[in-house]
Amino acid sequence: MKNTISIIAILSIGAFAGNMINIGLSHAMYWQSLEPLDFMKFFKIDFPLLLQPTAATLLPAF
């Protein structure tokens, strides 16, 4: 049991880091390429989609 929790913790912390790298290097760079108003429209669509992977990695990590 202890072993399983350790594995879940390390995997999810690492995956959360990967998710953050993805947001920073992929989404954020794309956002910066957009005009401010276009960004805001796009972010409205994008934000709910970011929640799922973030919650899926951050919750077990926490």
Binding site: G14, G18, N19, I21, N22, L25, S26, L49, L50, P53
Partner: protein, 153 residues
């Protein structure tokens, strides 16, 4: 150096797992909501931004797992564990190179019809979860391998 390589392997494999999860749950679900042609246009705009984080994680993950498999050639148990890690990473790499990359380039060039896009995107997502599973297995074995190395070194 002996300890840095397993650390790099574990970090980058878990990081790759996070990136694949974000792609599947974030972008994948979004793409499915779009009309085929609209999807191809969005994909063409977004694809260049996927490359950097994916390469940044997948490449060191693959290289480090191969390096550790080779490095522990005299330690039977450790070698076996890193064989599983390496196999998972190679499977993900092969799927990406053989299917995702050529299809992605086709999407960027806007060269598919609406019907083709729907089929290709469904296969894209299916194979995406297959490569996610391969990297997940690799990550679990990488943690096991990391502990085995710490007991020996």
């Amino acid at each position: 150096m002996k300890k840095i390589l397993p650390e790099i392997a574990v970090l980058t494999i878990c990081g790759a797992l996070g990136i694949l999860l974000a792609m599947g749950l974030g972008f994948g679900i979004f793409w499915k909501t779009l009309e085929p042609i609209a999807f191809m246009n969005v994909f063409a705009a977004e694809f260049p931004y996927f490359i950097l984080p994916t390469v940044l994680m997948l490449q060191p993950a693959l290289i480090s797992s191969i390096a550790l498999f080779i490095r522990f050639k005299n330690e039977k148990e450790i070698r076996k564990t890193w064989l599983y890690v390496m196999s998972g990473m190679i499977a993900a790499f092969v799927i990406t190179s053989a299917y995702h990359l050529p299809v992605n380039l086709g999407f960027i060039q806007l060269k598919y019809t609406a019907e083709e896009i729907t089929t290709l995107l469904n296969i894209w997502l299916l194979l995406h979860w297959v490569r996610f599973a391969a990297v997940f297995v690799a990550a679990v074995f990488a943690l096991k391998g990391f502990r085995q190395i710490n007991q020996v070194v």
